[in-house]
Point group: C2
Chain length 303, copies 2
Protein backbone atom coordinates (compact mmCIF):
# COMPACT_ATOMS: atom_id res chain seq x y z
CA UNK A 1 0.00 0.00 0.00
CA UNK A 2 3.11 2.21 0.18
CA UNK A 3 2.75 3.65 -3.31
CA UNK A 4 -0.75 4.86 -2.54
CA UNK A 5 0.18 6.16 0.91
CA UNK A 6 3.10 8.10 -0.54
CA UNK A 7 0.88 9.74 -3.13
CA UNK A 8 -1.58 10.66 -0.37
CA UNK A 9 1.24 12.16 1.70
CA UNK A 10 2.63 14.08 -1.26
CA UNK A 11 -0.70 15.78 -1.91
CA UNK A 12 -1.66 15.81 1.78
CA UNK A 13 -4.97 14.54 0.51
CA UNK A 14 -6.47 11.18 1.58
CA UNK A 15 -9.25 11.20 -1.01
CA UNK A 16 -10.07 9.44 -4.26
CA UNK A 17 -12.46 10.59 -6.96
CA UNK A 18 -14.85 7.95 -8.22
CA UNK A 19 -15.19 8.01 -11.99
CA UNK A 20 -18.77 6.79 -12.35
CA UNK A 21 -19.64 8.70 -15.49
CA UNK A 22 -23.38 8.49 -16.03
CA UNK A 23 -24.42 10.24 -19.24
CA UNK A 24 -26.65 12.53 -17.14
CA UNK A 25 -23.52 14.03 -15.55
CA UNK A 26 -21.93 14.98 -18.88
CA UNK A 27 -22.64 18.43 -20.36
CA UNK A 28 -24.91 18.45 -23.40
CA UNK A 29 -22.36 20.12 -25.66
CA UNK A 30 -19.97 17.19 -25.12
CA UNK A 31 -22.69 14.65 -25.71
CA UNK A 32 -23.75 16.45 -28.89
CA UNK A 33 -20.23 16.28 -30.31
CA UNK A 34 -20.07 12.51 -29.77
CA UNK A 35 -23.60 12.02 -31.04
CA UNK A 36 -22.76 13.98 -34.21
CA UNK A 37 -19.63 11.89 -34.76
CA UNK A 38 -20.96 8.41 -33.97
CA UNK A 39 -24.77 8.53 -33.93
CA UNK A 40 -26.90 7.21 -31.08
CA UNK A 41 -24.54 4.33 -30.29
CA UNK A 42 -22.48 2.84 -27.48
CA UNK A 43 -19.45 4.20 -29.30
CA UNK A 44 -20.77 7.74 -28.95
CA UNK A 45 -21.50 7.22 -25.26
CA UNK A 46 -18.01 5.79 -24.73
CA UNK A 47 -16.47 8.65 -26.67
CA UNK A 48 -17.99 11.39 -24.52
CA UNK A 49 -17.29 9.43 -21.32
CA UNK A 50 -13.57 9.34 -22.17
CA UNK A 51 -13.51 13.05 -23.01
CA UNK A 52 -15.37 13.88 -19.80
CA UNK A 53 -13.07 11.70 -17.69
CA UNK A 54 -9.93 13.14 -19.29
CA UNK A 55 -10.99 16.68 -18.47
CA UNK A 56 -11.89 15.67 -14.91
CA UNK A 57 -8.51 13.97 -14.53
CA UNK A 58 -6.69 17.02 -15.95
CA UNK A 59 -8.53 19.23 -13.47
CA UNK A 60 -7.80 17.15 -10.34
CA UNK A 61 -4.53 15.30 -10.98
CA UNK A 62 -2.37 17.84 -9.15
CA UNK A 63 -4.55 17.81 -6.02
CA UNK A 64 -6.06 14.30 -5.79
CA UNK A 65 -3.83 11.20 -5.60
CA UNK A 66 -6.20 8.59 -6.98
CA UNK A 67 -9.23 7.82 -9.10
CA UNK A 68 -11.65 4.92 -8.81
CA UNK A 69 -13.47 4.01 -12.02
CA UNK A 70 -16.58 1.97 -11.24
CA UNK A 71 -16.69 -0.79 -13.84
CA UNK A 72 -20.49 -1.06 -14.02
CA UNK A 73 -20.71 2.36 -15.68
CA UNK A 74 -18.38 1.21 -18.44
CA UNK A 75 -19.77 -2.31 -18.88
CA UNK A 76 -23.09 -0.56 -19.44
CA UNK A 77 -21.84 0.41 -22.89
CA UNK A 78 -20.58 -3.00 -23.91
CA UNK A 79 -17.11 -3.37 -25.38
CA UNK A 80 -17.07 0.30 -26.38
CA UNK A 81 -17.51 1.07 -22.69
CA UNK A 82 -14.64 -1.24 -21.79
CA UNK A 83 -12.43 0.56 -24.30
CA UNK A 84 -13.43 3.79 -22.53
CA UNK A 85 -12.42 2.21 -19.22
CA UNK A 86 -9.07 1.18 -20.66
CA UNK A 87 -8.43 4.69 -22.00
CA UNK A 88 -9.49 6.21 -18.68
CA UNK A 89 -7.12 4.00 -16.69
CA UNK A 90 -4.23 4.70 -19.09
CA UNK A 91 -4.82 8.43 -19.03
CA UNK A 92 -5.09 8.63 -15.24
CA UNK A 93 -1.87 6.64 -14.89
CA UNK A 94 -0.09 8.85 -17.43
CA UNK A 95 -1.00 11.76 -15.15
CA UNK A 96 0.54 9.99 -12.17
CA UNK A 97 -2.71 9.01 -10.48
CA UNK A 98 -3.20 5.74 -8.57
CA UNK A 99 -6.04 3.80 -10.19
CA UNK A 100 -8.37 1.67 -8.09
CA UNK A 101 -10.52 -0.40 -10.45
CA UNK A 102 -13.84 -0.88 -8.71
CA UNK A 103 -15.05 -4.23 -10.00
CA UNK A 104 -15.78 -6.17 -6.78
CA UNK A 105 -14.62 -9.29 -8.59
CA UNK A 106 -14.86 -12.71 -6.98
CA UNK A 107 -14.60 -16.31 -8.09
CA UNK A 108 -12.89 -19.64 -7.44
CA UNK A 109 -9.08 -19.82 -7.63
CA UNK A 110 -8.40 -20.59 -11.29
CA UNK A 111 -10.92 -18.01 -12.44
CA UNK A 112 -9.71 -15.41 -9.95
CA UNK A 113 -6.27 -15.85 -11.46
CA UNK A 114 -7.72 -14.63 -14.76
CA UNK A 115 -9.30 -11.57 -13.10
CA UNK A 116 -6.06 -10.87 -11.29
CA UNK A 117 -4.01 -10.99 -14.47
CA UNK A 118 -6.57 -8.85 -16.30
CA UNK A 119 -6.65 -6.01 -13.78
CA UNK A 120 -3.38 -6.17 -11.84
CA UNK A 121 -0.94 -8.53 -13.53
CA UNK A 122 -0.29 -9.51 -17.11
CA UNK A 123 -2.14 -11.72 -19.56
CA UNK A 124 -0.25 -14.52 -21.26
CA UNK A 125 -0.71 -14.38 -25.02
CA UNK A 126 0.75 -16.75 -27.63
CA UNK A 127 4.20 -18.27 -27.05
CA UNK A 128 4.23 -17.14 -23.43
CA UNK A 129 4.45 -13.43 -24.25
CA UNK A 130 2.74 -11.29 -21.60
CA UNK A 131 0.80 -8.05 -22.05
CA UNK A 132 -1.19 -5.89 -19.62
CA UNK A 133 -4.90 -5.84 -20.32
CA UNK A 134 -5.91 -3.00 -17.97
CA UNK A 135 -2.95 -2.50 -15.62
CA UNK A 136 -4.85 -0.96 -12.73
CA UNK A 137 -3.00 -0.26 -9.47
CA UNK A 138 -5.67 -1.87 -7.34
CA UNK A 139 -8.87 -3.89 -7.66
CA UNK A 140 -11.85 -4.15 -5.33
CA UNK A 141 -12.78 -7.71 -4.35
CA UNK A 142 -15.68 -9.57 -2.75
CA UNK A 143 -14.31 -12.19 -0.31
CA UNK A 144 -17.40 -14.43 -0.01
CA UNK A 145 -15.49 -17.40 -1.52
CA UNK A 146 -12.64 -17.35 0.99
CA UNK A 147 -8.87 -17.74 0.58
CA UNK A 148 -8.78 -19.57 -2.79
CA UNK A 149 -10.23 -16.48 -4.40
CA UNK A 150 -7.59 -14.25 -2.83
CA UNK A 151 -4.28 -16.12 -3.26
CA UNK A 152 -3.88 -15.48 -7.03
CA UNK A 153 -4.33 -11.76 -6.37
CA UNK A 154 -1.63 -11.77 -3.70
CA UNK A 155 0.86 -13.20 -6.18
CA UNK A 156 0.23 -10.37 -8.64
CA UNK A 157 0.15 -7.78 -5.84
CA UNK A 158 3.63 -8.83 -4.81
CA UNK A 159 5.04 -9.26 -8.31
CA UNK A 160 3.70 -6.00 -9.73
CA UNK A 161 3.41 -3.87 -6.56
CA UNK A 162 -0.38 -3.71 -6.65
CA UNK A 163 -3.10 -3.81 -3.97
CA UNK A 164 -6.65 -5.07 -3.43
CA UNK A 165 -9.55 -3.79 -1.35
CA UNK A 166 -11.88 -6.48 -0.01
CA UNK A 167 -15.49 -5.62 0.89
CA UNK A 168 -15.82 -5.59 4.67
CA UNK A 169 -18.74 -3.36 5.69
CA UNK A 170 -20.37 -1.72 2.67
CA UNK A 171 -22.05 1.70 2.64
CA UNK A 172 -25.48 0.71 1.34
CA UNK A 173 -28.64 0.63 3.53
CA UNK A 174 -29.08 -3.16 3.32
CA UNK A 175 -25.44 -4.03 4.02
CA UNK A 176 -26.40 -5.29 7.47
CA UNK A 177 -28.71 -8.04 6.21
CA UNK A 178 -25.74 -10.37 6.00
CA UNK A 179 -22.72 -8.35 7.13
CA UNK A 180 -24.03 -7.38 10.60
CA UNK A 181 -25.18 -10.86 11.61
CA UNK A 182 -23.26 -12.36 14.49
CA UNK A 183 -21.70 -15.78 14.75
CA UNK A 184 -21.82 -17.87 17.92
CA UNK A 185 -18.62 -16.25 19.19
CA UNK A 186 -20.17 -12.75 18.83
CA UNK A 187 -18.07 -11.95 15.78
CA UNK A 188 -20.05 -10.34 12.97
CA UNK A 189 -19.71 -11.31 9.32
CA UNK A 190 -17.90 -8.06 8.55
CA UNK A 191 -15.49 -8.55 11.46
CA UNK A 192 -14.81 -12.06 10.21
CA UNK A 193 -14.07 -10.59 6.79
CA UNK A 194 -11.75 -8.09 8.46
CA UNK A 195 -9.91 -10.88 10.25
CA UNK A 196 -9.48 -12.66 6.94
CA UNK A 197 -8.08 -9.45 5.40
CA UNK A 198 -5.50 -9.17 8.19
CA UNK A 199 -4.58 -12.83 7.63
CA UNK A 200 -4.39 -12.54 3.84
CA UNK A 201 -2.24 -9.43 4.08
CA UNK A 202 0.13 -10.48 6.83
CA UNK A 203 3.13 -11.25 4.60
CA UNK A 204 2.76 -8.07 2.55
CA UNK A 205 3.22 -5.32 5.14
CA UNK A 206 4.78 -2.12 3.83
CA UNK A 207 6.79 0.68 5.32
CA UNK A 208 3.77 2.33 6.92
CA UNK A 209 2.54 -0.88 8.55
CA UNK A 210 -0.30 -1.51 6.11
CA UNK A 211 -0.59 -4.63 3.99
CA UNK A 212 -1.44 -4.96 0.30
CA UNK A 213 -4.90 -6.21 1.31
CA UNK A 214 -7.08 -3.22 2.11
CA UNK A 215 -10.79 -3.26 2.91
CA UNK A 216 -13.89 -1.34 1.89
CA UNK A 217 -15.71 0.16 4.89
CA UNK A 218 -18.59 2.58 4.31
CA UNK A 219 -18.64 6.12 5.69
CA UNK A 220 -22.33 5.65 6.39
CA UNK A 221 -21.56 3.41 9.39
CA UNK A 222 -19.20 5.62 11.46
CA UNK A 223 -19.47 3.57 14.67
CA UNK A 224 -18.37 0.44 12.85
CA UNK A 225 -15.65 2.43 11.10
CA UNK A 226 -14.15 3.56 14.44
CA UNK A 227 -14.25 0.05 15.87
CA UNK A 228 -12.77 -1.53 12.76
CA UNK A 229 -9.91 0.98 12.55
CA UNK A 230 -8.75 -0.12 16.01
CA UNK A 231 -9.37 -3.80 15.41
CA UNK A 232 -7.53 -4.12 12.08
CA UNK A 233 -4.34 -2.07 12.35
CA UNK A 234 -2.68 -3.40 9.17
CA UNK A 235 -5.68 -3.02 6.88
CA UNK A 236 -5.89 0.18 4.88
CA UNK A 237 -9.49 1.36 4.34
CA UNK A 238 -11.19 2.52 1.17
CA UNK A 239 -14.19 4.48 2.43
CA UNK A 240 -17.12 5.11 0.08
CA UNK A 241 -20.28 6.89 1.15
CA UNK A 242 -18.92 10.39 1.83
CA UNK A 243 -21.02 13.17 0.31
CA UNK A 244 -23.92 12.12 -1.89
CA UNK A 245 -24.50 8.87 0.10
CA UNK A 246 -24.70 10.81 3.37
CA UNK A 247 -21.33 10.32 5.13
CA UNK A 248 -19.80 13.51 6.62
CA UNK A 249 -16.19 14.50 7.35
CA UNK A 250 -16.89 13.84 11.04
CA UNK A 251 -18.03 10.36 10.08
CA UNK A 252 -14.92 9.50 8.10
CA UNK A 253 -12.21 10.75 10.47
CA UNK A 254 -12.57 7.62 12.54
CA UNK A 255 -11.18 5.66 9.57
CA UNK A 256 -7.76 7.23 10.26
CA UNK A 257 -5.07 6.64 12.84
CA UNK A 258 -2.42 9.33 13.23
CA UNK A 259 -3.67 10.90 10.02
CA UNK A 260 -3.21 7.82 7.84
CA UNK A 261 -4.92 4.48 7.22
CA UNK A 262 -7.72 5.39 4.84
CA UNK A 263 -8.71 6.97 1.56
CA UNK A 264 -12.15 8.55 1.24
CA UNK A 265 -14.09 8.30 -2.01
CA UNK A 266 -16.46 10.79 -3.53
CA UNK A 267 -17.96 10.28 -6.97
CA UNK A 268 -21.20 12.09 -7.70
CA UNK A 269 -20.47 15.23 -5.66
CA UNK A 270 -17.29 15.83 -7.70
CA UNK A 271 -18.57 14.80 -11.15
CA UNK A 272 -21.83 16.71 -10.75
CA UNK A 273 -20.51 19.76 -8.91
CA UNK A 274 -21.30 21.93 -11.96
CA UNK A 275 -24.95 20.87 -11.84
CA UNK A 276 -25.26 21.19 -8.07
CA UNK A 277 -23.74 24.67 -8.15
CA UNK A 278 -25.87 25.75 -11.11
CA UNK A 279 -22.83 26.54 -13.24
CA UNK A 280 -22.39 26.70 -16.98
CA UNK A 281 -21.77 23.27 -18.52
CA UNK A 282 -18.28 24.19 -19.76
CA UNK A 283 -17.29 24.80 -16.12
CA UNK A 284 -17.73 21.12 -15.18
CA UNK A 285 -14.02 20.35 -14.78
CA UNK A 286 -13.23 23.53 -12.86
CA UNK A 287 -16.20 22.84 -10.58
CA UNK A 288 -15.02 19.24 -10.05
CA UNK A 289 -11.63 20.58 -8.99
CA UNK A 290 -13.26 23.04 -6.58
CA UNK A 291 -15.34 20.29 -5.00
CA UNK A 292 -12.30 17.98 -4.79
CA UNK A 293 -10.37 20.71 -2.94
CA UNK A 294 -13.36 21.51 -0.71
CA UNK A 295 -13.61 17.80 0.16
CA UNK A 296 -9.90 17.57 0.91
CA UNK A 297 -10.03 20.58 3.22
CA UNK A 298 -13.22 19.34 4.85
CA UNK A 299 -11.54 16.06 5.80
CA UNK A 300 -7.96 17.20 6.44
CA UNK A 301 -9.15 19.91 8.84
CA UNK A 302 -10.55 17.19 11.09
CA UNK A 303 -7.62 14.78 11.07
CA UNK B 1 -36.95 -19.62 -14.70
CA UNK B 2 -39.60 -21.13 -17.01
CA UNK B 3 -37.72 -20.42 -20.24
CA UNK B 4 -34.67 -22.28 -19.00
CA UNK B 5 -36.70 -25.15 -17.56
CA UNK B 6 -38.55 -25.55 -20.85
CA UNK B 7 -35.30 -25.72 -22.80
CA UNK B 8 -34.04 -28.33 -20.33
CA UNK B 9 -37.22 -30.37 -20.77
CA UNK B 10 -37.11 -30.11 -24.55
CA UNK B 11 -33.58 -31.56 -24.67
CA UNK B 12 -34.17 -33.78 -21.61
CA UNK B 13 -30.80 -32.43 -20.53
CA UNK B 14 -30.27 -30.48 -17.29
CA UNK B 15 -26.72 -29.39 -18.10
CA UNK B 16 -24.93 -26.24 -19.16
CA UNK B 17 -21.55 -25.98 -20.83
CA UNK B 18 -19.22 -23.39 -19.35
CA UNK B 19 -17.42 -21.38 -22.00
CA UNK B 20 -14.16 -20.63 -20.18
CA UNK B 21 -11.89 -20.56 -23.22
CA UNK B 22 -8.30 -20.56 -22.01
CA UNK B 23 -5.87 -20.35 -24.92
CA UNK B 24 -4.39 -23.68 -23.81
CA UNK B 25 -7.67 -25.39 -24.70
CA UNK B 26 -7.69 -24.12 -28.29
CA UNK B 27 -6.04 -26.20 -31.04
CA UNK B 28 -2.78 -24.80 -32.38
CA UNK B 29 -4.00 -24.57 -35.96
CA UNK B 30 -6.76 -22.17 -34.87
CA UNK B 31 -4.36 -20.10 -32.80
CA UNK B 32 -1.94 -19.94 -35.73
CA UNK B 33 -4.63 -18.56 -38.03
CA UNK B 34 -5.43 -15.76 -35.59
CA UNK B 35 -1.78 -15.10 -34.85
CA UNK B 36 -1.06 -14.83 -38.59
CA UNK B 37 -3.95 -12.42 -39.07
CA UNK B 38 -3.49 -10.17 -36.03
CA UNK B 39 -0.03 -10.78 -34.57
CA UNK B 40 0.63 -11.54 -30.92
CA UNK B 41 -2.19 -9.31 -29.66
CA UNK B 42 -5.36 -9.40 -27.58
CA UNK B 43 -7.23 -9.12 -30.87
CA UNK B 44 -5.70 -12.40 -32.07
CA UNK B 45 -6.57 -14.12 -28.78
CA UNK B 46 -10.13 -12.80 -28.96
CA UNK B 47 -10.41 -13.87 -32.60
CA UNK B 48 -9.53 -17.50 -31.95
CA UNK B 49 -11.67 -17.59 -28.80
CA UNK B 50 -14.73 -16.58 -30.82
CA UNK B 51 -14.00 -19.14 -33.53
CA UNK B 52 -13.44 -21.86 -30.93
CA UNK B 53 -16.65 -20.95 -29.05
CA UNK B 54 -18.70 -20.85 -32.27
CA UNK B 55 -17.62 -24.35 -33.23
CA UNK B 56 -18.30 -25.63 -29.72
CA UNK B 57 -21.76 -24.01 -29.82
CA UNK B 58 -22.48 -25.49 -33.27
CA UNK B 59 -21.49 -28.91 -31.97
CA UNK B 60 -23.64 -28.86 -28.82
CA UNK B 61 -26.61 -26.59 -29.50
CA UNK B 62 -28.98 -29.39 -30.44
CA UNK B 63 -28.20 -31.41 -27.30
CA UNK B 64 -27.37 -28.85 -24.57
CA UNK B 65 -29.87 -26.15 -23.57
CA UNK B 66 -27.50 -23.53 -22.18
CA UNK B 67 -23.99 -22.09 -22.12
CA UNK B 68 -22.27 -20.18 -19.33
CA UNK B 69 -19.47 -17.88 -20.46
CA UNK B 70 -17.19 -17.04 -17.52
CA UNK B 71 -16.42 -13.32 -17.83
CA UNK B 72 -12.93 -13.48 -16.34
CA UNK B 73 -11.64 -15.40 -19.38
CA UNK B 74 -12.84 -12.60 -21.66
CA UNK B 75 -11.84 -9.64 -19.46
CA UNK B 76 -8.37 -11.18 -19.55
CA UNK B 77 -8.03 -9.89 -23.12
CA UNK B 78 -9.24 -6.35 -22.46
CA UNK B 79 -11.89 -4.82 -24.69
CA UNK B 80 -11.05 -7.27 -27.47
CA UNK B 81 -11.98 -10.01 -25.03
CA UNK B 82 -15.24 -8.26 -24.21
CA UNK B 83 -16.04 -8.05 -27.90
CA UNK B 84 -15.41 -11.81 -28.03
CA UNK B 85 -17.84 -12.24 -25.11
CA UNK B 86 -20.45 -10.17 -26.91
CA UNK B 87 -20.07 -12.20 -30.10
CA UNK B 88 -20.21 -15.45 -28.12
CA UNK B 89 -23.43 -14.45 -26.35
CA UNK B 90 -25.04 -13.32 -29.62
CA UNK B 91 -24.05 -16.48 -31.44
CA UNK B 92 -25.26 -18.79 -28.67
CA UNK B 93 -28.60 -16.96 -28.56
CA UNK B 94 -28.94 -17.13 -32.35
CA UNK B 95 -28.64 -20.90 -31.97
CA UNK B 96 -31.45 -20.92 -29.40
CA UNK B 97 -29.25 -21.46 -26.34
CA UNK B 98 -29.96 -19.94 -22.92
CA UNK B 99 -26.98 -17.79 -21.91
CA UNK B 100 -25.95 -17.52 -18.27
CA UNK B 101 -23.34 -14.77 -17.99
CA UNK B 102 -21.06 -15.79 -15.14
CA UNK B 103 -19.85 -12.47 -13.75
CA UNK B 104 -20.72 -12.78 -10.02
CA UNK B 105 -21.45 -9.05 -10.05
CA UNK B 106 -22.28 -7.18 -6.86
CA UNK B 107 -22.55 -3.58 -5.77
CA UNK B 108 -24.79 -0.99 -4.10
CA UNK B 109 -28.20 -0.26 -5.60
CA UNK B 110 -27.49 2.50 -8.13
CA UNK B 111 -24.41 0.71 -9.43
CA UNK B 112 -26.17 -2.65 -9.54
CA UNK B 113 -28.77 -1.00 -11.74
CA UNK B 114 -26.00 -0.35 -14.27
CA UNK B 115 -24.81 -3.98 -14.15
CA UNK B 116 -28.39 -5.16 -14.49
CA UNK B 117 -29.02 -3.02 -17.54
CA UNK B 118 -25.71 -4.07 -19.09
CA UNK B 119 -26.27 -7.82 -18.82
CA UNK B 120 -30.03 -8.36 -18.56
CA UNK B 121 -31.90 -5.17 -19.43
CA UNK B 122 -31.21 -2.28 -21.75
CA UNK B 123 -28.84 0.68 -21.59
CA UNK B 124 -30.28 4.16 -22.01
CA UNK B 125 -28.35 6.08 -24.64
CA UNK B 126 -28.96 9.65 -25.80
CA UNK B 127 -32.51 11.03 -25.89
CA UNK B 128 -33.83 8.10 -23.89
CA UNK B 129 -33.22 5.54 -26.65
CA UNK B 130 -32.44 2.08 -25.24
CA UNK B 131 -30.09 -0.57 -26.63
CA UNK B 132 -28.96 -3.95 -25.27
CA UNK B 133 -25.28 -4.08 -24.36
CA UNK B 134 -24.92 -7.85 -23.85
CA UNK B 135 -28.48 -9.21 -23.56
CA UNK B 136 -27.68 -12.31 -21.54
CA UNK B 137 -30.55 -14.47 -20.30
CA UNK B 138 -29.15 -14.70 -16.79
CA UNK B 139 -26.36 -13.26 -14.64
CA UNK B 140 -24.60 -14.74 -11.62
CA UNK B 141 -24.58 -12.50 -8.55
CA UNK B 142 -22.79 -12.23 -5.20
CA UNK B 143 -25.32 -11.27 -2.51
CA UNK B 144 -22.91 -10.00 0.18
CA UNK B 145 -24.43 -6.48 -0.01
CA UNK B 146 -28.00 -7.57 0.68
CA UNK B 147 -31.33 -6.55 -0.87
CA UNK B 148 -30.34 -3.15 -2.34
CA UNK B 149 -27.99 -4.94 -4.68
CA UNK B 150 -30.73 -7.33 -5.82
CA UNK B 151 -33.81 -5.13 -6.39
CA UNK B 152 -32.60 -3.50 -9.64
CA UNK B 153 -32.00 -6.98 -11.07
CA UNK B 154 -35.50 -8.12 -10.17
CA UNK B 155 -36.98 -5.24 -12.16
CA UNK B 156 -35.09 -6.25 -15.29
CA UNK B 157 -35.78 -9.96 -14.67
CA UNK B 158 -39.49 -9.23 -14.68
CA UNK B 159 -39.48 -6.74 -17.56
CA UNK B 160 -37.28 -8.78 -19.90
CA UNK B 161 -37.98 -12.34 -18.66
CA UNK B 162 -34.47 -12.91 -17.33
CA UNK B 163 -33.07 -14.66 -14.24
CA UNK B 164 -30.21 -14.40 -11.77
CA UNK B 165 -28.20 -16.98 -9.81
CA UNK B 166 -26.95 -15.81 -6.42
CA UNK B 167 -23.90 -17.49 -4.85
CA UNK B 168 -25.06 -19.65 -1.96
CA UNK B 169 -22.51 -22.43 -1.33
CA UNK B 170 -19.66 -22.29 -3.82
CA UNK B 171 -17.70 -25.29 -5.11
CA UNK B 172 -14.15 -24.19 -4.15
CA UNK B 173 -12.15 -25.74 -1.28
CA UNK B 174 -12.14 -22.56 0.86
CA UNK B 175 -15.85 -21.78 0.44
CA UNK B 176 -16.47 -22.81 4.03
CA UNK B 177 -14.22 -20.15 5.56
CA UNK B 178 -17.15 -17.75 5.54
CA UNK B 179 -20.07 -19.67 4.07
CA UNK B 180 -20.12 -22.56 6.57
CA UNK B 181 -19.90 -20.42 9.70
CA UNK B 182 -22.97 -20.57 11.89
CA UNK B 183 -24.94 -17.71 13.40
CA UNK B 184 -26.32 -17.79 16.91
CA UNK B 185 -29.54 -19.43 15.71
CA UNK B 186 -27.54 -22.29 14.08
CA UNK B 187 -28.16 -20.96 10.59
CA UNK B 188 -25.05 -20.97 8.40
CA UNK B 189 -24.05 -18.08 6.14
CA UNK B 190 -24.99 -20.08 3.05
CA UNK B 191 -28.38 -21.00 4.51
CA UNK B 192 -28.96 -17.34 5.30
CA UNK B 193 -28.12 -16.53 1.69
CA UNK B 194 -30.57 -19.23 0.60
CA UNK B 195 -33.30 -17.72 2.76
CA UNK B 196 -32.62 -14.35 1.17
CA UNK B 197 -32.89 -15.95 -2.29
CA UNK B 198 -36.29 -17.40 -1.42
CA UNK B 199 -37.39 -13.98 -0.13
CA UNK B 200 -36.03 -12.07 -3.14
CA UNK B 201 -37.68 -14.47 -5.56
CA UNK B 202 -41.06 -14.86 -3.88
CA UNK B 203 -43.03 -12.60 -6.26
CA UNK B 204 -41.49 -14.09 -9.39
CA UNK B 205 -42.60 -17.74 -9.22
CA UNK B 206 -43.10 -19.42 -12.58
CA UNK B 207 -45.17 -22.29 -13.84
CA UNK B 208 -42.82 -24.91 -12.42
CA UNK B 209 -42.72 -23.36 -8.96
CA UNK B 210 -39.26 -21.84 -9.27
CA UNK B 211 -38.56 -18.13 -8.96
CA UNK B 212 -36.38 -15.92 -11.13
CA UNK B 213 -33.79 -15.89 -8.34
CA UNK B 214 -31.74 -19.05 -8.57
CA UNK B 215 -28.68 -19.96 -6.52
CA UNK B 216 -25.20 -21.34 -7.14
CA UNK B 217 -24.53 -24.48 -5.08
CA UNK B 218 -21.38 -26.50 -5.73
CA UNK B 219 -21.43 -30.19 -6.69
CA UNK B 220 -18.39 -30.65 -4.47
CA UNK B 221 -20.54 -30.41 -1.33
CA UNK B 222 -23.21 -33.09 -1.97
CA UNK B 223 -24.49 -33.24 1.62
CA UNK B 224 -25.18 -29.53 1.63
CA UNK B 225 -26.72 -29.81 -1.83
CA UNK B 226 -29.24 -32.40 -0.61
CA UNK B 227 -30.17 -30.35 2.44
CA UNK B 228 -30.50 -27.13 0.48
CA UNK B 229 -32.70 -28.70 -2.21
CA UNK B 230 -35.25 -29.60 0.48
CA UNK B 231 -34.92 -26.32 2.35
CA UNK B 232 -35.34 -23.96 -0.62
CA UNK B 233 -38.07 -25.40 -2.83
CA UNK B 234 -38.53 -22.32 -5.04
CA UNK B 235 -34.86 -21.71 -5.76
CA UNK B 236 -33.47 -23.26 -8.93
CA UNK B 237 -29.84 -24.36 -8.58
CA UNK B 238 -26.91 -23.76 -10.87
CA UNK B 239 -24.41 -26.44 -9.89
CA UNK B 240 -20.74 -26.03 -10.80
CA UNK B 241 -18.05 -28.49 -9.78
CA UNK B 242 -19.13 -31.56 -11.77
CA UNK B 243 -16.28 -33.27 -13.63
CA UNK B 244 -12.91 -31.53 -13.52
CA UNK B 245 -13.56 -30.07 -10.04
CA UNK B 246 -14.42 -33.50 -8.66
CA UNK B 247 -18.24 -33.68 -8.38
CA UNK B 248 -19.81 -36.90 -9.69
CA UNK B 249 -23.25 -37.67 -11.13
CA UNK B 250 -24.16 -39.28 -7.78
CA UNK B 251 -23.17 -36.04 -6.10
CA UNK B 252 -25.34 -33.82 -8.26
CA UNK B 253 -28.57 -35.82 -8.31
CA UNK B 254 -29.44 -34.47 -4.88
CA UNK B 255 -29.81 -31.03 -6.51
CA UNK B 256 -32.98 -32.26 -8.21
CA UNK B 257 -36.53 -32.87 -7.05
CA UNK B 258 -38.76 -34.97 -9.30
CA UNK B 259 -36.17 -34.62 -12.04
CA UNK B 260 -36.12 -30.81 -12.09
CA UNK B 261 -34.72 -27.96 -10.00
CA UNK B 262 -31.14 -27.71 -11.17
CA UNK B 263 -28.76 -27.31 -14.07
CA UNK B 264 -25.29 -28.85 -13.83
CA UNK B 265 -22.29 -27.08 -15.30
CA UNK B 266 -19.22 -28.57 -16.89
CA UNK B 267 -16.55 -26.41 -18.52
CA UNK B 268 -13.08 -27.91 -18.79
CA UNK B 269 -14.16 -31.52 -19.36
CA UNK B 270 -16.17 -30.46 -22.42
CA UNK B 271 -13.80 -27.86 -23.86
CA UNK B 272 -10.74 -30.07 -23.35
CA UNK B 273 -12.29 -33.42 -24.25
CA UNK B 274 -10.12 -33.60 -27.37
CA UNK B 275 -6.96 -33.27 -25.26
CA UNK B 276 -8.11 -35.68 -22.56
CA UNK B 277 -9.02 -38.30 -25.16
CA UNK B 278 -5.79 -37.79 -27.12
CA UNK B 279 -7.63 -36.86 -30.29
CA UNK B 280 -6.57 -34.83 -33.29
CA UNK B 281 -6.95 -31.08 -32.73
CA UNK B 282 -9.53 -30.69 -35.53
CA UNK B 283 -11.78 -33.11 -33.61
CA UNK B 284 -12.21 -30.70 -30.68
CA UNK B 285 -15.83 -29.80 -31.41
CA UNK B 286 -16.91 -33.38 -32.11
CA UNK B 287 -15.18 -34.48 -28.87
CA UNK B 288 -16.90 -31.67 -26.95
CA UNK B 289 -20.25 -32.92 -28.25
CA UNK B 290 -19.41 -36.48 -27.23
CA UNK B 291 -18.47 -35.39 -23.72
CA UNK B 292 -21.61 -33.23 -23.45
CA UNK B 293 -23.74 -36.25 -24.39
CA UNK B 294 -21.81 -38.52 -22.03
CA UNK B 295 -22.38 -36.02 -19.22
CA UNK B 296 -26.09 -35.77 -20.00
CA UNK B 297 -26.49 -39.54 -19.96
CA UNK B 298 -24.37 -39.85 -16.82
CA UNK B 299 -26.68 -37.48 -14.96
CA UNK B 300 -30.06 -38.32 -16.52
CA UNK B 301 -29.57 -42.04 -15.82
CA UNK B 302 -29.51 -41.24 -12.11
CA UNK B 303 -32.49 -38.88 -11.91
Amino acid sequence: MDRLIEKIKKFMNPTVVGLDPKLAYIPNYMKKESLDSFGNTFKAAADCIVKFNMQIIDAICDVVPAVKPQMAYYELYGYDGILALYKTISYAKSKGMYVIVDGKRNDIGTTMEAYSRAYLGKTELFNGEKHSAFDGDSLTINGYLGSDGISPLLNDCLEYDKTIFVLMKTSNPSSGELQDRQFKDDESVYEHMGNMCEKWGKDTLGEYGYSKVGAVVGATYPDELRKLRLKFPHTFFLVPGYGAQGGSAEDVVSAFKDGVGAIINSSRAVLCAWQKNDCEPFQFAEQARKEAIRMKNDIVARL
